[in-house]
């Protein structure tokens, strides 16, 4: 049995029409029936408010609100229509500093330019098969930023008594 993409509703936010068209064409070819396109973060926000999207692709560098700010808004705005929606950041930035900034904005995955059908599919599969738990602290809300499951031999920096088990509300939680 293979993945069934046809029920997905995907939002693509990019101010460059050509880039949007390319990503949309690849998603349609995978079988995604509903690809919603936005030419700005502001338009993307409106679409997100009216449609239950399952996944968001957003370009980092856009006129007006950037993809980074858009991602932060999805994760932390009080009126966010979908705080948990997986976000894939499309980016030509490759510096570690930029990657950390996007990670801190609550982005799930990166899609480095130039994009290809294989790289888009790889991000889709990663979001589906490797979902990350969400973390809420006073200063961050979004997917756990510990990206990979690796054997960690250093000291535990999360203090156990301060970790609130799933299902229990934090006193500080909004």
């Amino acid at each position: 049995m293979s993945y069934n993409f046809d029920r997905l509703r995907v939002l693509v936010v990019d101010d460059n029409l050509h880039s949007r068209t390319l990503v949309g064409a690849v998603l349609h070819a995978f079988g995604v029936k509903t690809v919603l396109e936005a030419a700005s973060a502001e338009e993307g926000w409106k679409i997100l408010a009216k449609n239950r999207c399952d996944l968001v692709f957003v370009d980092w560098v856009m006129d007006g609100m950037s993809g980074l700010e858009f991602s932060q808004m999805i994760r932390t705005a009080k009126d966010s229509p979908n705080q948990f929606v997986p976000i894939v950041m499309i980016t030509g930035h490759t510096s570690l500093e930029r990657v950390h900034a996007a990670r801190d904005a609550g982005v799930n995955e990166f899609l480095a330019k130039p994009v290809s059908s294989k790289s888009i599919l790889a991000r889709l599969i990663s979001v589906i098969e490797n979902p990350r738990p969400f973390v809420r602290t006073k200063v961050y809300f979004g997917p756990c930023r510990r990206r990979r499951r690796v054997d960690y031999h250093g000291p535990e920096r999360r203090v156990e008594e301060n970790v609130i088990k799933p299902g229990k509300k934090s006193a500080s939680a909004a």
Binding site: A25, A29, S170, A171
Partner: protein
């Protein structure tokens, strides 16, 4: 250490994507269809590149006319789009030159007296690559030109980093 005393809530939201897509394996025909979709668009790529280059030329002219944060950001975005997309559109050398232009125009350089002739040289190089339809990433003249531009940008940034 104060951060460690902040309460942390960790939870796993429902995997809506998985629920919709089912657990399965990759259908290789989907990849072939997607590659075909990109191939089908290739006839439009040159037209798209020409439009994106026109936008870069306009942004460059606007920056030369009035150098400020806004025109610099427009120029950077136009270069950044080409950097990201031109390789997909079979113009890898445009990506390379545009990448060099991005280094020269990103927000870390705002306030520096950017060399307009170097900005113009990048734009001219990109125009030539399109005009001559140079799609081979090893084209000797174009790679030498790209290397020269990269070197000049590195020299400019180094000089101002040291200042």
């Amino acid at each position: 250490m104060a951060n460690n005393k902040r309460p942390i809530e960790i939870f796993m939201p429902p995997n809506v994507l998985k629920a919709k897509m089912g657990s399965g394996k990759l259908d290789l025909s989907a990849v072939k269809r997607a590659e075909q979709a990109i191939d089908n668009l290739k006839s439009e790529f040159t037209g798209w590149v020409i439009q994106d280059v026109s936008r870069l030329v306009e942004a460059g002219a606007a920056y030369v006319k009035q150098s400020n944060e806004e025109t610099l950001a427009d120029l950077y975005r136009a270069a950044h789009d080409l950097k990201g997309q031109a390789a997909t559109f079979d113009f890898p050398l445009i990506s390379r030159v545009a990448s060099s232009l991005c280094l020269l125009t990103d927000d870390t350089v705002y306030g520096l007296p950017l060399p307009l002739n170097l900005i113009g040289a990048h734009i001219d190089a990109i125009k030539v690559i399109v005009r001559d339809n140079l799609k081979d990433p090893s084209d000797q003249t174009a790679t030498e030109l790209a290397a020269e531009l990269e070197q000049q940008v590195a020299g400019f940034l180094e000089k101002h980093a040291a200042a």
